[in-house]
Amino acid sequence: MPPAFVELLQFLLSGVTSGAIYALVALGFALIYNASHVINFAQGEFVMLGGMVTWVLLSQGIDLPLAVLGAVGLTMLVGLLLEKLAIEPVRNANVVTLIIITIGAAIFLRGLTSVTLGKDLHALPAFSGNEPLDLMGATIMPQSLWILGTTALIVLLLHVFFNYTLLGKAILATSHNRLAARLMGINVNFVLLLSFGLSALLGAIAGILIAPITATHFEVGIMLGLKGFAAAILGGLGSGLGAIVGGLLLGIIESLGAGYISSDYKDAMAFVVILGVLFLMPSGLFGKRGTERV
């Protein structure tokens, strides 16, 4: 293999790995946005909780699969509680108010975690060892395969859920027209609750998958949440396909930018591309065209 090709392949592999995580976070944003038009800024905290709770359970001597289940379950519970206690009581408030509530929830969750679980960095063990795999001269960690595989599986499951189950279709219907959905007998409050639970699930899984690579701590959700949000915007808010494409694209732009141009401007380049896309296509790559209903 020519070295230039191996180099490109290496950049792509690393970009796709980060991108898959961004995509999972972006999907979480999309789910809640669809159900409520709220941008849930506590999404990054779901990511953080997934990693941190897994670490706590592991350190108590619980096996990895059980710890992962426990962390996902607990994070979902937090997501449901957030909706029940903070969003539902004021659901008739305007969207900006709800968004501010999620920012408050994010700060609260970060603070609570730092007080109860500490401010230290923690590493999770890689699921299948640390022996890098060789792929045509480039290397990839087994954990990256876990990330890519799990993300693909989740995307598939979500596709089936939204297109072939009554509940999934109910969520879709609510996202298209809330009032009409309610008139058709759909319990929109339950849909909203469910979307928070699902988002928390996605966030927790992303947080657990990436923790063996990056280590986890109470503030890890800030940047991952922001990147996921950027990915969601890039793909078009509310679009599932957009979230996935946006996430992968963001990861690849960052990696190619750092590799070929300059690592100093890695983050800047990603955001410049996003601005460029939004300039030409204000609703993102796959966002719904058209104007806001009045």
Partner: protein
């Protein structure tokens, strides 16, 4: 103006009393006031917390042993949370309202620099626990500091490389304060050791993947070693990515990751990584005849007896050094008079602290040399001394 005059008058009165031999009676009621401002909470709390604990613990011990020149010590502390503005306000309060005899503190370079103009004007000795070389370069008459500088860490790394016959080096630095400052220092001192920086990459502190930057470094012609100035999770990720890409050259980390946490985070990938660190990290592994051994062992056992096994950190050691240096200076001066203590601090030589042997002078208010850093290599999940 009036304030300074009264203070001068007071000092003169005390001096007269001291000459007259009646000092003990006065001094008994009048403790030496030690002011301190530290980042006990906030992002730099890992610095401030052990520093404050160390000061409190050792001041109590000195008082228990009869105090300094017959006077008890009183610690007046304010928590800055790492905020330079708060540091300035508190320093003002320490100098003007609390009328302290000395200031020991300043966990970060930022908080220290904010305070320097105030102590210079008030003419009170100030010993900082922060790393930045700007604190003592250029020399300010009333300002001293205890920890090594990042410039010395670069020097130590390059010295080790020279011994191994390495001259082409790739840099991958974090863009946080620590990484940025150390990168600049490394670039500056590299020529002194005939080191050429052949690759110079950066990453943001919250980045989750540095494979792209490292791939670029790996493909650089003639690369012989990689240095990673950085702090927190970044270096652990760099170390893992470094192992993943199968580099055939050595990796050097900085003193910024000199803690067991780093080995825990980087896991097996940390094997063979070298880094400069203070002797405290390898206290038990120091040779029996090492001058620092009794000091660092003493500090470690005292601290861990109070706060639990494994709790000791080099940061608390900076506070220990500062307090002990002040103690030595007061004893040498025979009083806590600021001007006399300043003179004595400048005259300190052969003082052994946790950071190394300190030899101050009028144009060196740090007094450490490269021998204070130990070159360590990670083997079998633990530190080993490189000789």
């Amino acid at each position: 103006m009036f304030k300074r005059m009264t203070k001068g008058l007071l000092a003169a009165t005390v001096a007269v009393f001291a000459l007259g031999g009646t000092a003990p009676a006065v001094a008994q009621d009048d403790p030496i006031r030690i002011g301190s401002f530290l980042a006990v909470t906030g992002p730099a709390s890992f610095l401030g917390d052990p520093e404050l604990k160390t000061l409190e613990m050792y001041i109590a011990r000195i008082n228990g042993a009869g105090g300094l020149v017959g006077r008890q010590l009183e610690l007046i502390h304010y928590d800055t949370g790492g905020d330079a503005n708060k540091a300035r306000t508190f320093a003002k309060r320490l100098l003007e309202e609390d009328e302290v005899d000395v200031i020991l503190g300043g966990s970060t370079t930022g908080t220290t620099m904010a305070v320097i103009p105030l102590v210079e004007r008030a003419e009170i000795p100030f010993i900082s626990f922060a790393g930045g070389v700007v604190i003592i370069d250029p020399v300010k008459p009333w300002v001293f500091k205890t920890p090594h500088t990042d410039r010395m860490a670069c020097g130590k790394i390059f010295e080790d490389m020279q011994a191994r016959g390495i001259s082409n080096v790739g840099l991958i630095s974090g863009t946080g304060g620590f990484g940025k400052s150390m990168r600049a220092q490394c670039l500056e001192v590299a020529p002194e050791y005939d080191i050429e920086i052949v690759a110079d990459e950066t990453y943001a502190p919250s980045d989750t993947d540095m494979v792209a930057q490292l791939t670029k470094i790996k493909n650089t012609e003639g690369l012989e070693a990689v240095v990673n100035p950085g702090f927190g999770q970044g270096p652990a990720i760099v170390t893992k990515n470094f192992a993943q890409l199968g580099f055939e050259v050595p990796l050097y980390q900085s003193h910024g990751v000199a803690s067991k946490k780093f080995i825990e985070l980087a896991g097996e990938a940390a094997e063979g990584v070298r880094l400069p660190a203070a002797a405290l990290l390898v206290a038990e592994k120091l040779p029996m005849d090492d001058l620092q051994r009794p000091i660092v062992m003493g500090y470690m056992t005292t601290y861990e007896a109070e706060y639990g096994a494994g709790s000791v950190s080099t940061f608390g050691g900076h506070a220990y050094d500062g307090l002990m240096m002040y103690k030595a200076a007061v004893e040498a001066a025979g009083s806590a008079d600021p001007a006399a203590v300043r003179e004595a601090l400048e005259g300190i030589s052969g003082f052994i602290g946790t950071a190394g042997e300190v030899n101050m002078s009028a144009d060196d208010h740090l007094g450490l040399d490269l021998s204070a850093f130990r070159m360590l290599e990670i083997q079998g999940g633990d530190w080993t001394l490189v000789e």
